[in-house]
Every structure is written in structure tokens, then in C-alpha cells.
Amino acid sequence: MIKFFTFLSLFIVVFLLGQPTVLAADADTESNSPIDIMGTVADHDYFTFFGTKLYLPRLFLWQDDNGSTQFSTYGSTKKALASGNFEQIDYVITPVKGSMLIDFSLTSHLLYFWFGLGALALFTMYAGSRYKKGIGTSTAPKGVLQNLFEVFYEFIRDEVAKPNIEGDKHKKYVPYLFTMFMSIAFMNIFGLLPYAATATADITVTAVLASFTFFVTQFSGTKDHWQHVFWFPGVPLGVKFLMIPVELIGLFTKPFALAIRLFANMMSGKIMIIAILGLIFIFNEMYGSIAAYGVSIFSVVVTSILYILKLLVAILQAYIFSLLSAVFIGMAVEEHEHDHDHEEHIHADLSV
């Protein structure tokens, strides 16, 4: 079964990544602003490899005007437009006749999302093969990578999972928290590479990650968790009804805040660096090249410092995401003793 899935995923990766076409520089450079900040942060249909744009394939599941469902693949956006079946309206591709059902197209952010997951898979599989051979279980761990793995794993187990999830239950959630921590850390750090895109600076990516935490939290919720949602203990009857909508909203604001926090942190870091480097080009246009040379000294120094800060933020945000996931899961799996009065259970709602 695992072999089948490996084959299937490999086939999908090869099939989807086999057909990017290399095209020359983009046509839309007629913008009057010297630097396009939002355009640099936004998702694209190409993957930049050392300055060369590799256009990614577009996959559409669409319905034509006869009502039959069709699946079309094109090598790039230009080929999709050249086929005559599709037209572009404000960056969104829609069929000329009929309607788009799902746009499966690859984008740069999705690609970097996969790179993050791939790096995590390679890292853990390497460490796993080491442990299978007995290195690290019967002897001390050997090599830089395995020691790094142990450092991160023990950090997640002892600093994140154990203090926040009570009792022996934390063991079940350590792999999930470790996966979240490492994949977000990899994605954030890949975003710092030259020409790279930050997958976590996209609200869809962080929303998917946060929804994992949401589902894990809800499916591991105990009876007490649901009792706190629908029949809050220890308060008068009228307040119980009042608490139901509040608690229901609280269930959704937690993952929402997780998604927004990660997205806004990575996005703001990226915008800040682009804006400060963009000062050089803006000064060049407004006051001439000498002023631009002067500003470049300031810009480069500040950007270097910001880059170090971003490296810290990349790890810190991954830590905060996994820490808050652990706190939310810990709140859901908690089991209260209901024999004495409930004063101590009315804890502050840590929703945002």
C-alpha cells in the first residue's frame, strides 16, 4: 500500500513538474513605479531559478457550455491563453465559454510548500534510517544532522508538548507538533534564500496549516472540552446559553489567529526588506544616481540586520505556531475533576 502511494506521489510529481517551459523575461514591465512591492510578495505562475523564470503548468477542471466536465493541462499560462479556450481577467484565468470548477495550477508558493515538506521528509527519513541501524538507540547519536534532529525533537518534546499537554497524552501529539515546527521552519528559511518565495507569506498556506491544528484539536477533544463549549459548568443557567455562541466562535478564532499570525509575520518581514531595498530605486528615479548610491549604504546595512532578525523570526514563528497548537490541544484533551466546585475551571479563554 505504501509502495503504491509512493509510486503515485512520485508519478504526480514527475508528471506535473516535467513540463515547465523556459520563456524569456515577462512582458508586463510597463509599471510606472520603480519597484512593485505587492507584486514581489504575491503568488506567481512561475518559479524563479537564478533569475530565469520557469513557467509552471496550468491545470484546469472546467465545464464547457455543453455542460460536460473537462480536465485540461497546459505547459504555461501563455499556452493556456493561446489555446483559445481561456481568457485572463485581472490575473484570474477563466474559460471563454463555460465555467471554471477548480484551478489546480501549480504556483510558486505551492512549490515552496512542497520543498518545505520534502526537506522535512528527507531530514526525518535520514534520522529514521540512522535509528533503525542502531545509531542513537544503542550508541550515542552520530553526525551533525542526527544531532540536530535530536536537539529539535527533544526541544519540541520537553519544551512544547510536555508542559502544555497533561500527563502521558503528550506522547501522542509530539510527532504532529514536530512535523508542524520543522515544516514551517523549513518553509520560512527557504523564503530567505535568494530568488525564493516564502510559502508561509501566503494566507492559503497558513490557513491549511492552521486547519490541521483545528481538526487535530477537535478530534482529540474530550467530553469536558465539548461540555465547556455547549454547557459551560459552574455558571447560572442563563449564562450557559450566553456562553454557547461565545465558545463556538472561540473554537474558530484560535486557528484563525494562528493562520493570521504566521502569515502577517512572514509577509511583513518580506515587505519591509523589499521596501528598504526599494528606496535605492526610488531615490535613483527621484534624485539621480548619486543620491541612490548614498541611500544604498543605509539600505544594505539595514537589510543585513533585518535578515538576521528574519532568521530569528523564522524559527520563532515556527516555535510559536507549534507552542500554540500544543496549548490548544492541551486545553482540548484536559480532563477535569467534577466533584468539587468549578471556580478553578473558569479559565481565561486564550483565543487570540
Partner: protein, 70 residues
């Protein structure tokens, strides 16, 4: 008008978040000075609480971005 609202709003958000995180830092540093052996736990609690405040601040920031762009 939207731009003005976004600018003022972002400024107020930054002021609020700055006061909040400043108070957390103050409390954490004072308690670490009082009890240096508990610095690990205090640091964890500090980062957690700062993250909550940051979450609120970023909600405001996102609203400001939407105001400015929309």
C-alpha cells in the same frame, strides 16, 4: 480617506502592542532578576503571552492593509 484611516489605525495598533509587549518584557525581566533559576519557564510564558498580543495587533494590521488596498 481609507488610506488615512489605515495609517492612523496602524499607528494606534503599534502603540497598543508596544505597550503590551513592553509590560510583558518588564514583568519577565523583573521576575528573572528575582528568581534567576526559573528563567526558562518565565521565558516560555513571556513568548506565549507576547504572541497573543501580537495576534491582536496583527488582526488590526490586516484590517489596515485591507482598508489601504480596498
Amino acid at each position: 480617506m481609507g488610506l488615512l484611516a489605515a495609517g492612523i489605525g496602524a499607528g494606534i495598533v503599534a502603540v497598543g502592542a508596544g505597550i503590551g509587549i513592553g509590560l510583558i518584557g518588564k514583568g519577565a525581566v523583573e521576575s528573572i532578576a528575582r528568581q534567576p533559576e526559573a528563567s526558562g519557564d518565565i521565558r516560555g510564558a513571556m513568548i506565549l503571552t507576547a504572541a497573543f498580543i501580537e495576534g491582536v495587533a496583527l488582526f488590526g494590521a490586516i484590517i489596515c492593509i485591507i482598508l489601504a488596498l480596498g
